[in-house]
């Protein structure tokens, strides 16, 4: 999509009918269960293909693993990843492992899309409304799990959220003429939204009360269970974002909270947004309209 704006994946036009999409993502564990870690890491890596409007085709494992852990742990991680790639309709065709002090796992993924079907993050238009397809809070929640403060039920919901594919959301957005799309990961909602706004040369207005949150996110944020990454994101973005005075400090930090395997942020024609949300709800993917696209203003994003 060019080097001037940062999009979710690399796209290479193969011929009139096909464009190749490539992406890579890997990270350290955020959950204790190795199979679940494999599922989440795979869903996270596959997400960039979906964010571009493509279908995953082929994936390669990227593994770092210490000698001191039993090999059965690695087997479970790889099984989690493989099952998730199969669910996405792709195949794992191999990979590479290196010894490391701490485990890391992810995928290099190749996907395909018709060149006209690629949805970049640089084409949001004033009049579009913003749809978010997964709730926020995974950074805060994962920190709360480390602190042993989270209820088992909330941890289970967070795990389901992180391991879910953005597959249905990606397919549906194409049917609703989505203008632009990006997925929400390490820079938090505001970081990735700012990328979309800057690339599209627009401004975005986001309504905090409309943003879906994972259970117990607010409670944990109020307790100061906030990862350092959220403060890094805030420091980077603070000059580009207006935050309404009524927002409490913990509410602001939720918007900067780095997400793991988050949902898609889709800019869709204003009149179609509610129907897209309704269709996704019918498919078992709860989503919400969280804001709108405006002509470019002084700040990239204003949060009300």
């Amino acid at each position: 999509m060019g080097l001037n704006t940062s999009d979710d994946a690399a796209v290479y036009r193969l011929n009139e009918h096909q464009a190749l999409i490539q992406t890579v993502d890997f990270f350290t564990p955020m959950v204790d269960d190795p199979y679940l870690f494999g599922q989440i890491a795979a869903a996270n890596a596959l997400s960039d293909i979906y964010a571009m409007g493509g279908q995953p085709l082929l994936a390669l494992n990227i593994v770092c693993f210490p000698d001191c852990l039993p090999i059965a742990v690695l087997e479970d991680i790889l099984k989690g990843g493989a099952d998730k790639v199969v669910e996405a309709g792709g195949i794992i065709a191999g990979g590479h492992t290196v010894r490391d002090d701490e485990p890391k796992y992810g995928l290099a993924v190749a996907g395909l899309a018709p060149p006209g079907g690629i949805i970049s993050n640089a084409t949001a238009r004033p009049g579009d409304r913003l749809v978010l397809t997964k709730p926020l809070g995974t950074g805060i929640i994962n920190t709360a799990i480390k602190a042993d403060l989270l209820s088992p039920e909330a941890a289970k919901q967070a795990a389901q959220c992180m391991s879910a594919l953005n597959k249905e959301a990606s397919a549906s957005m194409q049917r609703y003429n989505a203008s632009a799309c990006t997925d929400i990961t390490g820079f938090g909602l505001l970081g990735h939204a700012a990328e979309m706004a800057a690339a599209s040369q627009v401004s975005l207005e986001i309504c905090f009360s409309a943003v879906p949150l994972l259970p117990e996110t607010i409670e944990m944020a109020r307790m100061g269970i906030i990862p350092g990454g959220a403060y890094d994101n805030k420091e980077y973005l603070i000059g580009k974002v207006t935050l309404d005075n009524s927002l409490r400090p913990e509410e602001q930090m939720i918007l900067f909270d780095p997400q793991t395997s988050g949902g898609l942020l889709i800019a869709v024609p204003g009149s179609l947004a509610d129907r897209l949300v309704a269709e996704l709800a019918g498919q078992g993917t709860p989503s919400a309209v969280i804001g709108q696209v405006l002509p470019i203003q002084d700040k990239l994003i204003s949060v009300i």
Binding site: G224, Y231, A288
Partner: protein, 207 residues
């Protein structure tokens, strides 16, 4: 006055908050000084303490931050001896009212007129509650109660002023074509509504 020092230098988040919280919950402790070595830990401990109702005094010292956290109303002078009988545990959460899940604008299954009268009566009762309801969640025909023409506008305004969250389902407002008539509170979604229903508050359904 019982004062405890909690040294969190070298500890990664969330341990500074956890260790501070544990110290404040100890019997007899009413002031804690937490030492942290980074700004993230400082901000998180301050956020925790303020939201939990404590007073925080921040002091940079030799490259670290000394955060002195005192219960508001506790005697903080060094000379004061604690003569009271039983130590009180740290108050972390204040008492809160219940959450009302309101799925209709006419209370009950019988006559609609009676249903409206009963609904008005319910809201008048809610205004008198102490503590006030934590939140009112309006769905389906319930959203007519938060829009222009509602018989309970005055009661809702009072509740809103007392701090009750008023949330109206966006899908329902759109369905009935009354989104522009919303008078107060926020337009919400199923996620947020479900989050409220799953909080520790008592949840009461009005159908």
């Amino acid at each position: 006055m019982n004062h405890k020092l909690v040294d969190c230098r070298g500890l990664a988040c969330p341990h500074p908050v956890i260790n501070t919280k544990k110290a404040l919950e100890e019997a007899g402790v009413d002031t804690v000084t937490t030492i942290v070595d980074n700004d993230v830990a400082r901000q998180n401990v301050v956020l925790f303490a303020k939201n939990a109702g404590y007073q925080v005094n921040e002091q940079p010292k030799e490259g670290f931050y000394h955060l002195t956290i005192t219960r508001i109303g506790a005697q903080a002078t060094a000379n004061q001896t604690n003569e009271s009988a039983a130590p009180t545990p740290a108050a972390v959460t204040p008492t809160v009212g219940p959450v009302y899940f309101i799925t209709t604008n006419a209370l009950g299954q019988g006559s609609p007129d009676l249903g409206q009268v009963l609904m008005k009566s319910l809201f008048t009762t809610l205004v008198a509650m102490d503590p006030p309801p934590a939140a009112l969640l309006f769905l389906n025909t319930g959203v007519f109660l938060t829009c222009a023409g509602t018989p309970v506008q005055e009661q809702l305004e009072k509740l809103h002023t007392h701090g009750t969250a008023v949330l109206s389902c966006g899908t329902c407002l759109e369905y009935y074509g009354i989104k522009e008539k919303l008078l107060l509170g926020d337009i919400s979604n199923m996620f947020e509504i479900n989050n409220w229903l799953n909080k520790p508050h008592k949840a009461i359904t009005i159908a």
